[in-house]
Symmetry: D2
Subunit: 135 residues, 4 copies
């Protein structure tokens, strides 16, 4: 499991003082980016040094609890890899561990010059497995 | 059905020349805002003049086809209302009507000062029904 | 002069009901993108078909009047070209032609593979001149 | 002086692999938000607990050096207060302390219910002075 804290900012909030949901999606995407950096395969190096990426094919999120400016949201990311795809499962917690949202991004390993899904290279897959099992 | 065209901009695109998905989410949210304005109940008037809103509780999107800068994306929104909630169903088409993405936002009618879901006022619900049935 | 209307959305607004200024910057950048498309040299074609672009080197904006959700903002862009650079001058008006903001983006014509500023190709420069003079 | 590090993300970058400038503006605004939180007067508490805020009236930024995904940008904020306004001066550095951008946000202390500029309360002004002088 990968974990980071996201602080909701004034500029993320709406006239009710609640985070606009597109700003939550920004924070989720940032979390996937931080995770890929942590495991040594940042998205930007996939672009520059490899011939594949992990485009998003499916996403689902449920929002349980509103977020306010100043909230420190503990976001966890747990990868769930298959051979040619990986699901990033997310949970977001605020305050005394109240679930604010949960959901997933489904990403496929796909060549950047077309050709559809391909196998995730073992050195990346093994990192996904490690973070899937670990605490 | 409500329909608008969204042009993908250079500033929406990534190093592969493909739209960053959070920018697609921005366009979807903008579409819901345009729809509520069209039916005469813009989100900002709900905030100012009424005591309820339509917060998002669930969203799911599948991405079938990448979008590039300059693409004119025809986004359709079809509301599917129940008593206390409404699902906005979306499809996005590019070029010769290729499906680029589809999905939904599930929104509940909820009081802004708490108290949970409440019935959608009839004057709004009837608009949802009209756009659900129409072509 | 190029002109477009930007409608401020609920998702652009803050707890005071006023547009977050980074959302105004998004709208300004979108306006430059629409202008380049109108004159036949969209930013995304410069990237794909030419070996130069117009990166931003300087921007300044003054905000005179707050913007609210639902405001239709008339944004004008007047290009002011020199040999190797162009200034896009902006004004934004709301309601009964109240000035909401004004400012500029200074952009240089620069090769995408380095080498610094270069002359703006005549076919683009002539378009800038046409929009600079016209009403 | 207040300082934080902003990591440029894949989702901030354009087809040249360079950060879109509206994403840099997002990072600047986030920095002002972090600074106000650090001194004990976060923007969101001004909204909820006081009757004034610090709306932006003028901004200027010069961009010296492009930013790429993965860059760790050291952003410094130095407040320069007057009686009724404050200028936040910014510098952004990458790599071996190369200046990437510099500029300012000019903010006035203004009542949220209108009435124009007012004096900055002493407990906030003294914090601005402390960060202006300090290293």
């Amino acid at each position: 499991m990968f974990e980071r804290t996201w602080t909701v900012r004034f500029s993320d909030t709406d006239p009710h003082g609640i985070a606009h949901y597109p700003r939550i999606v920004d924070a989720l995407h940032e979390t996937s980016d931080m995770f890929m950096q942590e495991i040594g395969f940042p998205f930007w190096e996939l672009t520059g040094n490899y011939d594949f990426g992990f485009p998003l094919v499916d996403m689902r999120f449920e929002f349980e609890h509103p977020l306010h400016a100043g909230d420190d949201v503990r976001i966890t990311l747990t990868p769930d890899p298959s051979t040619r795809a990986v699901r990033f499962e997310y949970d977001g917690f605020v305050g005394d561990d109240t679930l604010a949202f949960s959901g997933y991004e489904q990403r496929v390993c796909a060549g950047t010059s077309g050709g559809g899904a391909q196998e995730i290279p073992e050195e990346i897959r093994s990192q996904f497995v490690e973070y899937a099992d670990g605490e």
